[in-house]
Structures are given as C-alpha cells and as structure tokens.
C-alpha cells in the first residue's frame, strides 16, 4: 500500500545553542538599574563570587527564536497527528485550558500569599478535588503529587501509615507482573518489598494466585484496572473483597481511568486508594515529558493520612488550608501540587460535564476496539479478551521474518504515525500496545490501520525494508547502544571534549 499520510518536506538543520554562540551577542535587556550598583564584595564576600560562566552562549533573541522553533519542527506531536502510545492516553489538549491557566491573576499567584488573597485558587483546588472524588467514587482527594509515580508513592505511603497506625507493619506489596514499572519502584521507595503476582492465562489477576499470596505480611495489592492489556479485571469485586478480608488494602493505578469515566467507579468496586494522571485522562499537555499531576483519591479510612495541607471551606464560604492533621504522611512536594496543570484539568472537566466524560471513555473504547477488529489476524493478539480503551498486539507473526517491534515502530514513522508503546507490558513478548483515545477520527484510525497492514505485508515480502527504517526522518535510526556505552550527556567546548 502506498503511504497516504505523510510526505517528506524540507526542514531546517540546527546546531546546539552553545555552538551558535558568538562573542558580544545578547538576547535580552534588563531595565536600567535604578538603584546604586552594589558593592559586590561587600554583599557576597569575594570568596563567593564566580567569574563569568564562560560556556554560557551569547546569542540574540532572533537566534533563540530560530533555534527552538527549528527544534520543535523535529517532533511529532498530538497536534500534528495520531500518537497511539499505549498507557499514555495521548488525547487532544484543548486550547481553552491553556488560556485559562495563563490568566495573570492565576498563573501569577505566589503559593505563600495570605489565604484571604488567593480565595480563587483555593476554590479551584476544592472544586476539582470534589469532582475527582465523584468521578472515582472515592471520599477525599489530595492534589499534591506532581505525577502518576508520585501519586503511587503517596498512596502507598498512606497505606503504610494507616497500617502502622493500626499497629501492624506488613512488609510486602503484591503487584501483578503486567504492572507499570513505577508501581514496584514506588512501593520500594515507600519501604515495601515487592512480590510479583503472575497473571493468569487471560492476562488478569488470578484469584487463586492472589489467595495463595495474600498473607498477613501483605500490606496491599497494587493493581491497574483496566490493566495494561486494556482488560477490565473481571473478578475485581472478589479481588478487593479477598484482600480486604485478609486485612490488606487495594491500591489502583488509575493511569487507565480514561476507560472508565461515567461507566464505573473504582470506589464502587472496592478500591481504597488510587492515583489519577491528569496529564492523561484529563487532557493536560504532556510537554515532551511533563509536567503532569497525579492526584490521589482515598476512602474515608485513609483520609487522615492525606498529605498536608488539604483545602476546606468553612460555614461562611471561606476557603482555607488545613494543616492540623496529625496523622498526615506529611508533604510529597512543596506547596500544593502542580497547580497550573490542575487548573487545566478542571477546565477540561467543566467543559465535558458528566455527559462529555462518559462520551470520552465510550469513544476511546470504541476506537480501540475498532483497531482491534481491523488488525485482528494481521498481528497476533496474545490475549484475545474483551478490551476497553487499548489493545495489545504482538509481533509474533512478524518475528518469523526476524522483524522486531522496534522495526515495526520505526517503519510506522515513515507512514506518518508515532508508534504505539512497544515492549510493554512485559508479559507480552514483542508487545505493541495501542491506545488511540477518543481524539482520533475514523479517518485517522483507518490510515493507521492501513499503515499497520501495509507494514505487516512488508514484513512478509520485504523484511529488509523494515530493518533499515525509518527512511523519511531527518535522522535515521539512532544508535542507542553507543549512547549508553560511551555516554555523552552534555555539550563541552571543542577544546575540552570528554563526557
């Protein structure tokens, strides 16, 4: 099949900003100093003064604009095309979110202003907290964690604090083998050892395995629902019941909440604590790797342990921060969370309302299943179960022609697509994890499906073609091995090239 989605086009080269430097250029002016220049030695002490930072660049405003504009054109992005990274929920980031988050009276506020001067901000925090509690069916929310992994850490710490408070000190956390790497990493930082729970042949938590593993050494089960295969845990009610019956708690990684909004609520199927990724489900932009926001929602029993402070409102309608919470785990980030991101997410929820959120999840599910339907038979489906918002194929058929998932991923670039998540979840050898989200139109999905089919054909008939792809990107396949073997992690002036 011909490539119908992309055509190469001339694109500007650009060196490092440091390589653009030329003596005497400058890009910014300050207002004239309107007070006497300081006696520097007096103010700092001569031993504390550094010389000019020689390696800092000297460039003009024009150079800076050109430099970063050119760099930007080397990126694929949601605004340029489909970005079906599984587990990442690369949905459209509405422009109105950006606009309200930049309102000067919001973006310009200092976190340590007297509460009376930031009532609007406090109302924002309280409002979205309440909304997230309703969406998840939980009782209370902390907005402090700045990303999903931080939310996990916060949640697990709260579990630990609760259990300690109850006088028991269980030592382990159960985590399915399909989980995201942040789950075990967060559990470990929270002081737990991790026990991996093998998924059953359907890719789900096995009640039996859980039953066996669920000792009184186990503090919690940490699961993802729908799991990383996109499958809603069919036994979720029995799972949470069992864990609770044995004195454990259930943590849910809410990264996949985009499958559930308005359809089912974690709080209603026995979850004690979960985090959300506002930068996934709630449309805040990823920014090439953050910032995010990972609010944590809990049941009543965990509420006393939420990070400090929480926002409350008194009977006169006045909002305030409550720091008087002796059981709190403390703070997981300075101040109150990634406020700017939270504002965007609130704007998204308000734009959607209950109907919109339900539609978002429904169409996300439809889109994923449409892809599944169309690519069934073309790519191997290692777990052929009903899926919700994402679907995981494997390269099993293509592997016979010595084609790796990486080859498929790279070739997709020539077709104008960002590749799916590859090599995750770990329980699928050669995983191709596809999450289209509700933001893709039928036409874009069809183009993607065609591209995937075409690549499958190429894998069979012309596997060499794939091995050397991509062909149309401005750099060809990059050598990751060399990067790791001989790490060059920063620029150095020519004279002193080393690390």
């Amino acid at each position: 099949m011909p490539i119908r989605k992309a055509t190469p086009h001339v694109n500007q080269d650009e060196p490092l900003i440091f390589e653009r430097s030329s003596s005497g250029r400058h890009g910014y002016d300050l207002p004239r100093l309107d007070v006497p220049a300081a006696n520097l030695e007096g103010a700092l002490g001569s031993e504390n003064i550094r010389p000019e930072i020689d390696e800092f660049p000297e460039v003009s405003e024009v150079d800076v604009i050109r430099h970063f504009t050119r760099l930007s054109t080397w990126n694929h992005s949601i605004d340029t095309g489909m970005y079906p990274l599984g587990s990442c929920t690369m949905k459209y980031n509405p422009r109105i979110n950006e606009r309200v988050a930049r309102l000067e009276g919001i973006a310009g506020t200092h976190p340590l202003m007297p509460e009376s001067m930031v009532q609007g901000n406090l109302e924002i925090l309280k409002t979205i907290g309440d909304f997230l509690a309703e969406i998840t069916g939980m009782d209370a929310v902390s907005l402090q964690p700045p990303a999903g992994a931080s939310g996990e850490l916060t949640g697990v710490m709260m579990i630990r604090a609760l259990l300690f408070n109850r006088g028991n000190s269980r030592k382990r956390i159960l985590i399915p083998d399909s989980a995201h790497g942040t789950n075990p990493a967060s559990a470990a930082i929270a002081g737990y050892s991790v026990e991996t729970l093998k998924s059953d042949e359907h890719g789900c938590v096995s009640l039996e395995a859980l039953d066996r593993a669920m000792s009184d050494e186990v503090a919690a089960l940490m699961l993802t629902n729908p799991n990383t295969l996109g499958i809603f845990e069919p036994e979720i009610a029995s799972i949470t019941e069992l864990v609770h019956a044995r004195g454990g708690l259930v943590y849910m990684d809410g990264a996949n909440l985009n499958a559930l909004m308005g359809l089912t609520r974690p709080g209603d199927f026995g979850i004690d604590v979960l985090h959300m990724n506002l930068h996934k489900t709630f449309s805040t932009p990823h920014g090439g790797g953050g910032p995010g926001a990972g609010p944590v929602a809990v049941k009543k029993v965990l509420e006393p342990f939420l990070p400090l402070p929480i926002v409350e409102v008194n009977s006169t309608g006045r909002y305030y921060f409550n720091y008087d919470r002796p059981l709190s785990i403390g703070k997981v980030k300075a101040y109150y969370g990634n406020f700017g991101t939270i504002v965007r997410a609130l704007c998204y929820i308000l734009a959607n309302g209950a109907e919109g959120l339900k539609e978002a999840s429904s169409v996300a599910i439809l889109n994923a299943n449409y892809i599944k339907h169309k690519l069934r038979g073309v790519y191997d489906l290692p777990y052929d179960e009903p899926v919700l918002h994402e679907v995981v194929f494997s390269n099993k058929k293509q592997a016979m022609h010595h084609i790796t998932v990486m080859d498929i991923a790279k070739r997709l670039m020539d077709y104008g697509f960002h590749p799916p998540t590859v090599a995750f979840p770990l329980i699928v050898p050669g995983a191709l994890m596809i999450e289209p989200t509700e933001s893709e139109s039928r036409e874009e999905l069809d183009l993607f499906i065609d591209a995937m089919k075409s690549i499958a054909e190429e894998a069979e008939n012309n596997p060499d073609l794939l091995l050397h792809s991509p062909y149309t990107t401005r750099v060809k396949r990059l050598d990751e091995v060399q990067a790791a073997r001989h790490p060059i992690l920063r620029w150095r002036p020519k004279s002193s090239e080393s690390i």
Binding site: G105, T182, A188, I329, F339, A351, E480, L489
Partner: protein, 445 residues
C-alpha cells in the same frame, strides 16, 4: 462533545463495520454489578465562553495588582516573552516523553541543552533531564547518596527550605533512613560546630542550601571539607537558581551533588507549580542518578542525534530496583529554563544576578535607617533577608494590605523561634519606587 471527532454518525458506521449494535456491546468486560447506572454528579457541560467567564471570576477572587516581596523559593523574576511563545509550539507542548528518538529530536536536543546548562550553572559534570521540583530533587538526592554511600544517617541543615525539609522527611521516613537536623548559628548559616559534632562515620551526606532559606550564603567550602574528611558526601540545594549567575558554583566549592529548583529561570509562580527541579552530580555517580538522561549518539549515516540513555537506572526496566520511581517529569518547564538561559546568555545571567544584589542592598540600606527594624543574620546574601519588627506582624498586616503590599513572609509559620520576623525578597523586578514604598510604610508603622 467538541473534543471528540467521531460523531454519533461516525460511531454508528464504525459499529456497523464491527458487526455491533452499540458501544454497550463493548462494555461487557465491565461486570454489571460495578457499572455506574447514573450520570456522574457534575455541573452541566460548559461552552468555551462560559469556561472563560468562570475562570475569570475565579481569578477575580484572588487579590490583584499587589506589590509583593514574597520569595522563599518561589521567586519573582522577569520572564522573557519568547519563552511563552516557544513553549506554546504544539510540537513541544503536545508531545510525549521522547521514547521514539527519530521523531522527537526537538525535545531530545533541548533536554541535552538543559542538562548542559545545569552542569554549567552548578559546576557539576552530569545533570538529569529534570525532577518534579526543588523539594523532591533534594529528597531524591538523599536517596541517591544513600545508594552511593551505603550509609543511613543524613544531616539536614535547618536553614534549608522548610517545605523541602518536610518532603525529605516524608520520603526518608519510609526508607529507614534517619534525617538529623542541624541548627544555625547567629549569622543565619549552618552551625559548623554542630556539624562537626554530628558528622560521624555513618553519615551518608550533609545537605545544605545556599543561599539558604534565610537568604544567607552558606560556607560551602568549609562544609565540604568537613564532610569529605569524614567520608560523607555534600549535597547543595538551591531554591534560587539565579544566584548561580554570580555566586561561586557549588561544584567548584566542593559539592558532590547539586540539586534544586530552577523556577527562577523563566517559570511563573503559578501558586507553587509546575516548576522544575534539577539534580546534578559528579560523573562517577551517574549510574546512581534518578530520572531521565539524554545522551548524544549517531544515526546509521553517522549524523549526530540524541536519545534517552542509561535507562537501566529507570523503573521501566529495573522496576523495584530502579534509582527512582520518577517517570513523567517537568520537561516543558525544563525547556523554559533552557530558553531562559539561552536568551540571557553569558552576560545576561550575570547582570540579572547583579541587579538582584543591587536592589536587595538598596532595600537593606534604606531599611536599616529605620530604628525600630532589625535586619537579622548579617552576612553574604543574594536577594533575601530577614527583618525583625518590634510588634507582632498580625497587628500591621492590615496596614500593608490596605496599600496592596505584601511585605514578605511571616517566618513564624516555619520558624516558631523567629517571631515578628519577615523574610523579604527583593529581586530585579522591584523598582526603586517599589522599595521606597515598602520602606515608607515601615517608617510610618
């Protein structure tokens, strides 16, 4: 919904192709008994004009047009317009973590530049691609030091930002790592005698902040010497990265790791976040660094390119043995700092630092003329200082708020011992007239 391309019509067509009746048919995976059988209780969907109106109303509930001398780790500096304009480029704003290098070279090269800038500023050899903020950067640096040193006691100066200390305590509490606070001496800097006393063989690292929370520069070199003598590492944190435009780099003063908050470099206050943390260290520690790293490499035709690298440190490969759980970080805001450093450049970064000092020294000079005020902790400083008043701050706050002035931070909140004291930040954004106004109000109290 306007954000969803597939209309009811499209959805029907797709369902037909799939041989299905309705989306309901796709939800069978969710057991009936846990299905939500009502609409969520949320306000009705709002149109864009309504959203704008609502947020402007919320904005209106915040005080506006204030003259503020708040700093305390969230610093008011000029933010060049090009930053906003460049980070709004969809290709930066709406892309994911650059896993697929060939179509993410923009983000990758920018992060490589960020890493370089952070090394240059701190005097370190390697830097990661960003941390959540200055507080978690500090906490992570201690976990890193624990891995390197295999020791479990850590000394944390009380002059480190109190919010950061709280975060450190939270992180370390669950790790069986002990954090011991170190007091400060009369000049507002770390009590070196206490440090000397506490620096036993089991101390993995000493953590200080410089400029510290009270505005004073710590004696980094002395602390480094002491720490190194006992086989301990020195971690220097910064809550005011702009100081590095003029203040000797922690690296050249002997720090082993430097971490902190780069909000000062082009990032708006935004009620405390998103900001951008950084963590830099000596090269020999690189395999213990948490977070993402971008490295230079070549493509199959020998052209330079950049990739995420050394990822065996990270959770998606090492899982519970990873150097950290951090995944999504603060990439876009690291880009803001990168643009800021590029634009200010060699001369500008120094000049802006010098202006901070000049404004602060001017304010100090004028305030010292007022007999009833006392400047605490005299000594080398960048752009902050502590002012002690004869009366409780509560009694005068009305006077300031009537004038639309926030004179600084009431320190009692964090340092109960420092009652009637204000932490005052005077940056390059404060004009002489602003400072004179502050002084004038103080003079009439």
């Amino acid at each position: 919904m306007r954000y969803i391309p597939n209309s009811a019509h499209d959805q029907r067509q797709m369902l037909i192709e799939m041989g299905l009746q309705s989306i309901e048919d796709l939800l069978e995976g969710i057991p009936q008994k846990v299905r939500l059988n009502r609409l969520l209780a949320l306000p009705r969907p709002l149109s864009e004009p309504e959203l704008l109106e609502m947020f402007k109303e919320l904005e209106g509930k915040n005080a506006r047009g204030l003259l503020s001398f708040l700093g305390a780790g969230v610093n008011q500096h000029f933010i060049p317009s090009v930053i906003e304009s460049l980070v709004s480029r969809a290709e930066f704003l709406t892309s994911y973590t650059p896993y697929q290098a060939e179509i993410s070279q923009g983000t990758l090269q920018a992060i490589f530049e960020f890493q370089t800038f952070m090394c240059q500023l701190t005097g370190m050899e390697v830097s990661n691609a960003s941390m959540y903020d200055g507080s978690t950067a500090l906490a992570e640096s201690i976990l890193m030091a624990a891995r390197i040193s295999q020791r479990n006691r850590f000394l944390l100066a009380e002059t480190v930002h109190p919010e950061y200390r709280r975060v450190v305590n939270t992180y370390l509490h669950h790790q069986n790592l002990k954090v011991q606070p170190l007091g400060y001496q009369q000049d507002g800097t770390l009590d070196l005698k206490e440090l000397d006393r506490c620096l036993a063989k089991d101390v993995g690292a000493v953590m200080i902040q410089s400029p510290n929370f009270l505005g004073n520069l710590e004696s980094v070199e002395k602390v480094a010497t002491l720490a190194h003598e006992r086989g301990s590492l020195l971690i220097v944190n910064l809550a005011e990265a702009l100081a590095l435009g003029i203040v000797k780099s922690p690296g050249s003063a002997g720090a082993d790791m430097v971490c902190g908050e780069a909000q000062s470099l082009g990032v708006p206050p935004s009620f405390g976040g998103p900001h951008v943390g950084f963590l830099a260290s000596r090269e020999k520690f690189v395999r213990n660094l948490p977070g993402r790293l971008v490295g230079q490499t070549v493509d199959s035709e020998g052209r330079r390119g950049f990739v995420l690298t050394l990822s065996t440190r990270e959770q998606h490969i090492r899982r519970e043995k990873a150097t950290s759980n951090i995944c999504t970080n603060q990439s876009l805001f690291a880009l803001m700092a990168t643009i800021y450093c590029s634009l200010l450049g060699k001369k500008g970064i120094r000049e802006v630092a010098l202006q901070n000092i000049a404004k602060t020294q001017y304010a100090l000079r004028e305030l010292r003329k007022l007999a009833r005020l006392r400047v605490l902790f005299e000594g080398p400083r960048f752009n902050e200082f502590v002012l002690q008043l004869p009366q409780p701050l509560g009694s005068i706050s009305k006077r300031f708020s009537n004038e639309g002035v926030v004179p600084g931070l009431d320190l009692e909140r964090y340092f109960p011992a420092l009652s009637n004291s204000l932490l005052v930040s005077v940056t390059e954004t404060r004009s002489k007239a602003d400072i004179d106004k502050l002084v004038q109000i103080f003079s009439t109290l």
